[in-house]
Symmetry: C2
Subunit: 267 residues, 2 copies
């Protein structure tokens, strides 16, 4: 099964992805997480450090795939989760789509692309152009991380539109929304009333989550020494369980931008 | 003179751009503002409503440029500032670069591209790939809007790297940083100690600015009935005056990502 986690930059995609990967590992699954954000810090809390990107490694070897071994690009993280960072297009040139394409190509060469129970793509969702939509070509499900604000929901709607576009030619479905860092959900509910989709979980702002990232650990690793954090782990286990149940998912309806501005913005 | 304003999504690029455009108009300049964000709400506080995008208009006319008139795509805003929204690539397909390219092509056909004292591009800066770097091909100066946080400064560094790349083949310079919605500037100063560049202004979070956007007005229009807002206008007049003085600008130095993580992140 392949999952693509999308959301606006800084919304908590990587924090959420690492904890979902750790939760899937707790459920006995062999997981590979692939970071697809130019910030290339997706897998930081799984490995505890910034791993080299695929693009950097390929450049070092003059793009000779035959000189790249799995251990050069795939790193072991917490709970046995394997980690890869695609990296971003060189600033001011190149294309996000090319980077994702090269990453998948290399993983296939290394016979790694189909060796996992779950592959999770962590993808920047500010600009869902042809390039950054590339991971959707490989995904069974898309998950969208959002808060309760206009900008993140506007980005969520563009991501949903990309899923609708790709679902015409791929077996892709939207598994739903994950609310993050918010106690309120009135705008999330307004949005899903216009574009129906499941809301898998809503996580409030939890300082322990922020601290776990500073320490370079998932919340699961933190909970080993601080059992009171188990309820925080449960948010992510709940998400993992819903995905492992292979939900129907949706092909999202179209909500034109103007409708979204009227519905959600304070203009 | 052509300026490109970049920054992470939601950082305040459009609010800052509209107020700079209004300030330039106060200095007697004929200004055109071009929004290059898929959110296409760049010029909202200048016009008071969401204007149709170039891409939507071209699509309506089957891409027959000869059937498009200036008044179909160029709208009058506050202070005589002219407004255009490029729009974004269709979700899940297309490219940001194509949209910017089509916009500039159409404005040239309409003899509009060189009819202004100042053209200001308001561009999303989360992913500065070849596509979203396209406005830099036309710009004399780039301005970067940031807050005092890691994510916005990481985006700022990629934007700076794009300026360095483009400055090799174009007469482009980085005019500097604009701090926004922040009372602190310790991380901004740390960043500029490693990558020297001018800091044109630092604006705190000012509730009147937030309100002006809700009302669909620039701070300049608000100040006509509420003179106590003049000090807020002065921030933008100060930025406009620095740009009109045709500063030297810089070709930013290279700061590798790892250095930025060590310097600015709490990892
Ligand atoms: N539920 C949460 N509660 C508190 N902090 C959070 C939560 N989720 C994410 N964060 C914090 O938000 C910041 C951005 O998260 P990150 O995962 O890097 O975002 P993204 O990958 O979308 O850019 C990090 O500092 C992280 O610790
Ligand atoms: N200095 C400021 N003080 C208070 N609010 C601000 C300030 N600058 C921008 N804002 C608010 O921040 C939000 C995002 O601004 P916007 O200009 O739309 O960002 P962007 O164009 O970068 O996506 C808006 O609600 C705006 O009113
Ligand atoms: S397709 Fe997207 S990532 Fe690729 S160059 Fe265009 S805007 Fe950039
Ligand atoms: Mg991330
Ligand atoms: Mg904007």
């Amino acid at each position: 099964m392949k999952i693509a986690v999308y959301g606006k930059g800084g919304i908590g995609k990587s924090t959420t992805s690492c904890n979902i990967s750790a939760a899937l590992a707790k459920r006995g699954k062999k997981v590979l997480q692939i970071g697809c954000d130019p910030k290339h810090d997706s897998t930081f809390t799984l490995t505890g450090f910034l791993i080299p990107t695929i693009i950097d490694t390929l450049k070092d070897r003059d793009y000779h795939y035959e000189n790249v071994w799995p251990e050069d690009v795939i790193y072991q993280g917490y709970g046995g989760v394997h980690c890869v960072e695609a990296g971003g297009p060189p600033a001011g040139a190149g294309c996000g789509g090319y980077v994702v394409g090269e990453t998948v190509k290399l993983l296939k060469e290394l016979d790694a692309f189909d060796a996992y129970d779950v592959i999770l793509f962590d993808v920047l969702g500010d600009v869902v152009c042809g390039g950054f939509a590339a991971p959707l070509n490989y995904a069974d499900y898309c998950l969208i991380v959002t808060d309760n604000g206009f900008d993140a929901l506007f980005a969520a709607n563009r991501i949903a539109a990309s899923v609708r576009e790709k679902a015409r030619t791929h077996p892709l479905r939207l598994a739903g929304l994950i609310g993050n860092r918010t106690n309120k959900r009135d705008l999330i509910d307004k949005y899903t009333s216009v574009v129906p989709m499941p809301v898998l979980e809503v996580l409030p702002l939890i300082d322990d989550i922020r601290i776990s990232r500073v320490k370079g650990k998932t919340i699961f690793e933190m909970a080993e020494k601080a059992p009171h954090l188990q309820p925080v782990c449960d948010y992510y286990l709940n998400i993992a369980d819903q995905i492992l149940a292979r939900p129907e998912g949706v092909v999202p309806q179209d909500a034109p931008d103007r409708e979204l501005f009227n519905l959600l913005s304070d203009f």
